[in-house]
């Protein structure tokens, strides 16, 4: 149980790291939103699943309830995250920022 929990948490941290690096690395506002909005929720899902498994080591009613609460956090984030991402995107569109349509492919080097 503990081993699988650790595996999940490390996988989650991998996605979190990917998300942060993606924000720094990608070229424009819109493409940065992809790692910012989604790799985060994936990392959260993984780390939270790991923690839920870790809580379930000793199998008892309080442990099960704690695990359920942790999974409820994930559900709520999966509902709110697309909403927040869309709000940011919409703000960008309203401010008149045109999305980059892959010009850097030709300009490369």
């Amino acid at each position: 149980m503990t081993v699988s929990a650790v595996i999940f948490i490390v996988l989650g941290l991998f996605f979190f790291t990917g998300g942060s690096i993606g924000i720094l690395r990608f070229p424009d506002f819109y493409s940065r939103l992809h790692p910012a909005g989604k790799l985060d929720s994936m990392g959260l899902l993984m780390t939270m699943a790991g923690m839920a498994l870790y809580t379930l080591r000793d199998f008892s009613l309080p442990a099960i309830i704690t695990a359920l609460k942790i999974m409820l956090i994930v559900v709520l984030v999966f509902i709110t995250s697309p909403t927040a991402t869309h709000a940011i995107l919409d703000a960008g569109v309203r401010a008149g920022l045109g999305p980059w349509t892959a010009p850097e492919k030709k300009v490369k080097e």
Partner: protein, 156 residues
């Protein structure tokens, strides 16, 4: 009436999971607060097929499972793009047509697009969704229309 019952059940579940105390007094408080919230929603007239989509009860879980798999696969793809760097992405903006009949179906489709990494829905007018895709593959996947068909099936 069915909507009131469904809301009460959801709220009670939420309370039971979050409280963790099961003494008669607290359970009584649960009943009181759940009933008052349900009554409030009933009189505000916000309980209808749109806020409590009961007709999707049996078709939605299967779709969510499929979506979950897609989210994980797509997340791995985006993580790969991140590690490979800017040269591996080619952002583009596409327009997809949503074939769902109800507003709710279109919203589910648009939100699923946002939830699946690599694609974000920017704008929605009538039944055209403007989508920003991170890579050409993500865009091609979406234009293939499998998600669209599945959401249509959920709608029933």
């Amino acid at each position: 009436m069915r909507h009131v019952l469904a809301l009460s059940a959801t709220l009670s579940f939420f309370w039971l999971v979050n409280s963790g105390h099961y003494t008669p007094l607290l359970l009584f408080f649960m009943v009181v607060s759940v009933l008052s919230v349900a009554a409030l929603c009933h009189y505000m007239d916000v309980l209808d097929g749109e806020s409590q989509p009961l007709n999707l009860t049996f078709t939605l879980p299967g779709y969510l499972l499929w979506l979950f798999r897609e989210v994980i696969l797509a997340n791995i793809a985006v993580a790969r793009c991140v590690w490979l760097g800017t040269s591996s992405i080619s952002p583009c903006v596409i327009t997809v047509t949503a074939n769902q009949k109800s507003d709710l179906g279109i919203v589910i489709y648009a939100n699923s697009i946002t939830l699946t990494p690599g694609t974000v829905s920017i704008d929605l007018n009538e039944n055209h969704i403007v989508v920003h895709a991170l890579t050409g593959e993500a865009a091609a996947d979406l234009l293939g229309g499998e998600m669209d068909r599945r959401v249509c099936r959920v709608e029933g």
